[in-house]
């Protein structure tokens, strides 16, 4: 090991005694490429009766033995491995690598096609999987509703502890971040309003802008998006890691219903938490807008409240908060469903968590747009 290494060499000599293949130097990984190249040059020209001399090979590892075995072919390698004059370790190495090559055919690297057909195929797959996802989601909604129906009249099967625990995690723990976020968005909306409306001398209507925005849209939308990121992902990760560790299967074999045990408490918790959080977000957003009004429009607090009370009807609040339970249901169902779709590995947990967040935000915004159209047509 400590002697300086010499690159491996191979020479082919022909004389009256026939062909002789002489190998020298180190046949090790650092010289693999050079040896492989040289071996390829020689491979075609070896006669049947060639004599092989590897006594002068200094060091040999599996890569060197591989080159030799490939150059000589299976039968000659096995013959070489029987050569009593070689050290036992080297014979064992040649034999092992020779045996290994016999069972090994050339490793073809994975095909990486590219082109129009592949693009079409991917589009097709994406469309097909979108339909499958939608069908699955509808199916899961059905299962969840069925679970509701079968437990709602039997209080003994309510999972109150789980429900309270999820309420704390999804509701109470989200209050600070949600309030701060809404406060800041409220302030931003007020700034925008006061600047844009100033051109018409109507900057006092900033109050209405903030009020309408938060009561009808932003309160519930901000809450839903925040919970889609925060809670849907948590649900998927929790249920997904249980699935990966076969805990879901264990629940089934114990004669229990995973939907009742895992899904219902989560869905119920979010159904309760999201409307409450929406209310918090509305208040925080309006306060944020109010602070800006007080600071930039020199409005007094009582004037702000007066205007707010005059222009806002209860209807605006109801129209906004009515969307909250729908969003809550969709977010929690998507989060739970993605958790159940996890298979085996930790990587799969990550993939489905991402998918849960993307899907729930998508669904929330889609439903919000549909609701806005509906409200407009109804003149609410």
């Amino acid at each position: 090991m400590d002697t300086p290494s010499l690159p491996g060499t191979v020479t082919l000599t022909r004389d009256t005694g026939g062909e002789r293949l002489v190998l020298r130097g180190d046949w090790t990984l650092p010289f693999y490429e050079a040896l492989q190249k040289r071996a390829n040059e020689l491979a075609g020209s070896l006669g049947a009766g060639v004599q092989v001399d590897i006594h002068d090979v200094h060091a040999m590892d599996t890569s060197g033995a591989f080159v030799i075995a490939e150059l000589l072919g299976s039968s000659r390698t096995q013959a070489l491995a029987q050569d009593e004059a070689l050290p036992a370790a080297r014979r064992a190495l040649l034999k092992t690598v020779g045996d290994a090559i016999d069972t090994y055919c050339k490793g073809v690297p994975r095909k990486r096609d590219a082109g129009f057909v592949v693009m079409l195929e991917r589009i097709g797959r994406a469309v097909a999987s979108f339909w499958k996802q939608t069908a699955k989601l509808l199916g899961f909604i059905g299962i969840t509703l069925q679970g509701f129906a079968s437990t709602v009249l039997r209080p003994s099967r309510w999972r109150v502890t789980a429900l309270v625990s999820h309420l704390e995690q999804t509701g109470l723990d989200a209050v600070p971040i949600l309030a701060l976020l809404s406060f800041m968005v409220g302030a931003v909306v007020a700034f925008l309003g006061s600047t844009a409306l100033a051109a018409y001398g109507a900057s006092v209507f900033t109050v209405d802008l903030v009020g309408f925005a938060f009561l009808r849209e932003f309160g519930v939308l901000l809450t839903a998006i925040l919970l889609a990121g925060r809670t849907a992902s948590a649900f998927t990760a929790q249920i997904g890691s249980m699935k990966a560790r076969e805990e879901i299967d264990a629940i089934r074999t114990l004669g229990l219903d995973p939907v009742e045990l895992l899904v219902l408490p989560r869905v119920l918790a979010l159904l309760i938490a999201l409307p409450l959080l929406t209310f918090v977000a509305m208040i925080a957003g309006i306060v944020g807008g109010g602070v800006v009004c007080l600071a930039t429009l020199k409005m007094s607090p009582s004037m702000f409240l007066n205007m707010f009370q005059e222009d806002m009807q209860l209807r605006q609040f109801l129209v906004g908060i009515a969307k909250a339970p729908v969003f809550a249901f969709m977010i929690s169902v998507i989060g739970c469903m993605e958790g159940f779709k996890v298979s085996g590995s930790a990587q799969s947990v990550g993939e489905h968590t991402t998918s849960a967040v993307v899907q729930s935000i998508f669904v929330v915004i889609l439903l919000d747009a549909v609701a806005a159209l509906f409200y407009m047509e109804m003149g609410w």
């Binding site: 693999y32 490429e33 492989q36 599996t62 190495l93 090994y104 490793g107 994975r110 085996g344 930790a346």
Partner: protein
């Protein structure tokens, strides 16, 4: 077997919080041997392995691999030493985003600067050496069975033709037939490649069928080290319970039958 020492552990102390795992532990591993490390759960077998390969920094004491203290070497030199040993982790630790062949080819591409095609061919040889079928190279780690994962991980550990191989519970979770096949694979590879094998195991059959020497970890140190028959005679309650309990006797019996 030469008497050259490739791993030298002196006065090793490992402590996690208030729990002392090793105290003043000494151990020598000689070139070309298969040394089995046994001990009850929580006696720090895996911690010892991780300390030797430099993943755990000991509280005190010194570990020398090939005469070098890994933790005090500069990054580049350390990497050179690390290439001279391979590690088979308990659960395989195959990279899940790469195919099996890519897993094995990775160290060869990164360290030996082979191009991808050459590395893949060589990876095929290593996989075959480890006893995997031809098509296994194209599979993903998630598609392999437990035994195949261990073999693939062994192939990766052997990728750079290391001088020492560390095996952490290589036969845990395998059926007896796969475990026996893995045992004989370890001996075959040791003989063919001149490996030194550091084997952490619970499996008495593996100990009897592969190890030249056995070291028993107990009471935070190496309680006994030597050929298995000698160690089994050590006058210590744990050693007696381990080697002369029902499973121990069965393994001894099986080993004797095998030799006759």
């Amino acid at each position: 077997m030469s008497t050259e020492t490739v791993i030298e552990v002196r006065g090793l102390t490992n402590r996690f919080g208030t729990q002392t795992v090793h105290e003043n532990l000494d151990l020598d591993v000689r070139r070309g041997e298969i040394i089995g490390i046994v001990g009850g759960s929580g006696t720090g077998k895996s911690v010892l392995l991780r300390t030797i390969i430099g993943l755990v920094r000991p509280v005190s004491g010194e570990v020398r691999v090939f005469g070098e203290n890994l933790l005090s070497l500069p990054e580049e030199k350390r990497s050179l030493v690390e290439r001279r040993f391979g590690v088979l982790f308990q659960s395989g630790a195959l990279f899940s985003s790469l195919t099996v062949a890519e897993n094995v080819a990775l160290p060869m591409v990164e360290h030996a600067k082979l191009d991808r095609a050459d590395a893949t061919r060589l990876a095929g040889v290593k996989l075959a050496l480890s006893g995997l079928p031809v098509d296994a190279g194209r599979k993903w780690p998630a598609q392999l069975s437990g035994g195949m994962i261990k073999r693939a991980a062994l192939a990766r550990a052997l990728a750079l033709d290391p001088e020492i191989v560390f095996l952490d519970e290589p036969t845990a979770g395998l059926d007896p037939i796969s475990a026996a096949a893995f045992d004989s694979l370890i001996v075959t590879l040791r003989d063919a490649l001149g490996l030194t094998v550091f084997l952490v195991t619970h499996d008495l059959d593996t100990l009897y069928s592969t190890c030249d020497r056995v070291a028993v970890l107990s009471q935070r140190r190496v309680l006994a080290v030597g050929p298995i028959d000698e160690v089994a005679r050590t006058d210590d309650p744990w050693v007696q319970a381990y080697f002369n309990g029902p499973r121990g006797r069965a393994a001894t019996f099986a080993a004797r039958q095998g030799k006759d």
